[in-house]
């Protein structure tokens, strides 16, 4: 099962959720916190674990994402100087956090280091940390690609340094994945077949001795009020990368931060995909407030590929009968759907009541739904997978259109991304004749 859950500070998952493994995100917790965590039987989803060093977040705004920057600053590959390392003899972790968050805007470098000696030192610490953490594969760090005219040399300097170090230290029995982190601004305006940046990335990375590629799309151009990627050209570009890395070069491909669109990436050739429920675990957008902020429950409908707003729109869709065609039944959503069928409001189901931080069931439901979808795709062959994803997205586009029609303008349920997902996959099929 190649679905991985992005985990944040809180490691625990409901026992109903059975992903293939988990990806621990550096931005979610400090290095000294992670170093003290025990990977025991309480976290079966972490038995198979990856750690994303998230160097592509070096451009994060410390004024907006103070907590995430403080977390990232604790990892040496961000090259932050002027901060005291955590010392349990000197301070508590909350004290360290307070001190760090107070000064982070002064010391956060806002860019990855470029000096080759500093890069070599950074990759050494990053690789060693992942080995120490017991990761099943190593994710080699890369800065974010934000310039469509780049010659990719900053990214390659990191990659080559990491490859050289893993070879020298003979971490050869652990698969290594090169991070390809691209901002959607580099992808939005050109079809992938005419985008020289994609050719450059594909050639440069596949010519190096790595086992796989870990692809992250930074969604700077996306709307702030939805967590779903709604621009089709960047999505087609990611499918293009996944397809060519996997099919042409025989590399293992992982895709993160695209939500369940990861299933489409899997059909295009990716081996695994990852997401999480909270926005900071679901997508990567540096302009978001990463970590912190308020969360309200939503109901994820896999058949419609969207989150239904629970304050009033879920009830409206239930009353009109629209919901019946897009129910997504999981152990966590059973009570909610039973209430809907009995014409009771979602607000009568405490676990789904629309209130701040009442998100445990919404999160559990979404992740079970993702695992279920993964189980469906995993039992199919390559050709069937493509048909299955096409069927899902075409059906979702119809469902989303019905939702839009029923709820009308000004709705809080976001539907715009669904057609973009369907279009992206259809164009990918046409272009690659699959």
């Amino acid at each position: 099962m190649p679905f991985y859950v992005n985990v944040g500070y809180k490691f625990a998952l409901e026992p109903t959720i059975h992903p293939a493994g988990s990806i621990i995100l550096a931005s979610a917790l400090t290095m000294h916190t992670l170093d003290r965590r025990k990977f025991d039987g309480r976290y079966p989803h972490l038995a198979n674990r990856l750690f994303d060093p998230q160097l592509y977040m070096a451009g994060l705004d410390p004024n907006k994402s103070r907590k995430a920057c403080a977390n990232l600053a604790s990892y040496p590959w961000f090259g932050v100087s002027g901060l005291d390392a955590f010392d349990s003899d000197e301070q508590t972790q909350p004290e360290w956090r307070q001190d760090t968050e107070d000064s982070i805007h002064e010391v956060w470098p806002r860019a990855a280091v470029t000096d080759i000696a500093a890069i070599q030192d950074a990759v050494r610490q990053c690789v060693d940390f992942q080995v120490r953490l017991g990761c099943s594969s190593l994710i080699l760090p890369s800065p974010l690609t934000i310039d469509p005219g780049t010659d990719y040399s900053p990214e390659l300097a990191w990659l080559d340094s990491a490859i050289e170090y893993t070879r020298r230290e003979q971490h050869v029995d652990i698969p290594i994945f090169a991070t390809v982190g691209i901002s959607d601004g580099c992808l939005r305006f050109l079809e992938p077949s005419r985008n020289p940046l994609l050719d450059l990335v594909l050639d440069s990375v596949s010519a190096r001795p790595v086992d796989g590629v870990y692809i992250v799309l930074e969604q700077s151009q996306e709307a702030p009020d939805t967590k779903h990627c709604g621009l089709s050209t960047p999505l087609i570009s990611i499918l293009h990368l996944a397809h060519l890395f996997a099919k042409d070069s025989g590399l293992r491909v992982g895709v993160n931060f695209l939500g369940p669109f990861g299933l489409a990436c899997e059909a295009a050739g990716a081996e695994f995909w990852a997401t999480g429920w909270y926005r900071s675990l679901y997508r990567c957008r540096l302009a978001d407030q990463i970590a912190g902020g308020r969360a309200f429950p939503v109901y994820w409908s896999f058949p419609a590929a969207l989150d239904i707003h629970l304050e009033s729109e879920f009830d409206q869709l239930a009353r009109s009968g629209t919901l019946a065609t897009m129910e997504d039944l999981t152990a966590a959503s059973q009570g909610l759907l039973m209430a809907a069928r009995a014409r009771r409001s979602a607000s009568t189901v405490p676990a789904w009541r629309y209130s701040m931080s009442n998100v445990a069931s919404a999160q559990e439901h979404f992740l079970i739904s993702a695992v279920n979808a993964e189980n469906e795709i995993a039992r199919r062959g390559p050709v069937e997978r493509i048909e299955w994803v096409s069927g899902w997205l075409q059906g979702a586009a119809v469902n989303a259109s019905n939702v839009g029609r029923e709820l009308g303008a000004g709705r809080k349920t976001k539907t715009g991304h669904v057609q973009a997902w369907a279009d992206a996959f259809a164009m990918h099929r046409r272009f690659h004749n699959v």
Binding site: S153, P196, D199, L200, L202, D203, A207, D248
Partner: protein, 282 residues
């Protein structure tokens, strides 16, 4: 009317004009060839057989420095080794001189002019030059100009790459303006024709494959027409006259227009392992 540069060029073709300017451990012998960049003499360095290249005026010193540094750092049996480098002054011009190991044999371009090579001879050439590409790529160097005239075939049928003048390390800034590509028409990879700034070893793999096709046919597949070469889709079909060769599928994959679909040098070496030199096989 002859310019000062023309005069110096002419002077370089007379051995005695140069011999006296070289240090004592460098001996100049007969002239081997004259190319676009300079004149190559046979000679000796500390008694070892050498090919000694004296550059014409106007060459980019930085490029020559890079070639010298690269030759000095690479240890590969199928790339010439650096024996000595220095400068001489003629007519007020400082001219670089680079001495490399002398490889006894004939240029592949010369051999091909005599007719097609038998298919049995392709394997060792493919293996040796793939090994050279692999060695360069391990240092992240791309040769950018692999072609028959840059390959010497020894009497034993082994191949050696002799000119690294256009090779570029990825760490180094380009010596050419953006949008300008370097290499030789008829051997450029598709990405090289687009003047991509960051080529990989896959570009050299493509050029090697074109070179092998030319060797097997006894003529260039598109008569050095670069556009036609790329239109021929050699990765799908080789010309009818291409001989039966059990590694033709590997060769065709090396000609794929997408670099991602071309094999890495290490994969080529693995599939052609039977052609490894006897010393490598132990």
């Amino acid at each position: 009317m002859a310019t000062a540069t023309d005069v110096i060029r002419d002077m370089l073709e007379v051995r005695d004009n140069i011999s006296a300017l070289l240090p004592g451990h460098v001996e100049l012998g007969d002239r081997l060839t004259k190319g676009g960049q300079g004149v190559v003499y046979r000679g000796k360095v500390n008694g070892q057989e050498a090919a000694i290249k004296v550059y014409f005026p106007g060459q980019l010193f930085k490029r020559i420095d890079r070639e010298v540094a690269l030759l000095g750092s690479l240890k590969c049996g199928s790339i010439v080794g650096l024996l000595w480098s220095g400068e001489i002054a003629i007519g007020g011009e400082a001219l670089p001189v680079v001495a490399t190991t002398f490889v006894a044999g004939r240029g592949l371009d010369v051999l091909v002019r005599d007719g097609p090579l038998h298919a049995d001879r392709l394997g060792p050439i493919a293996y040796d030059i793939a090994a050279a590409i692999d060695a360069m790529w391990s240092r992240r160097v791309v040769h950018r100009d692999i072609k028959p005239s840059n390959i010497v075939i020894t009497p034993e049928g082994r191949a050696c790459l002799i000119d690294l003048g256009l090779a570029r390390h990825l760490d180094q800034s380009p010596l050419t303006a953006m949008g300008v590509t370097w290499g030789t028409y008829g051997y450029l990879s598709p990405e090289q024709t687009r003047a991509v700034r960051q080529l990989s070893c896959k570009s050299d793999i493509f050029s090697l494959a074109v070179t092998l096709v030319e060797a097997a046919l006894g003529r260039h597949p598109s008569n050095h027409d670069q556009l036609r070469l790329l239109d021929m889709r050699l990765h799908e079909t080789l010309p009818h006259s291409f001989p039966a060769w059990k590694h033709r599928l590997t060769l065709m994959s090396m000609l794929h227009p997408r670099p991602t679909a071309r094999p890495l040098p290490a994969a080529i070496l693995a599939s052609l392992a039977e052609f490894a030199p006897a010393t490598e096989g132990g």
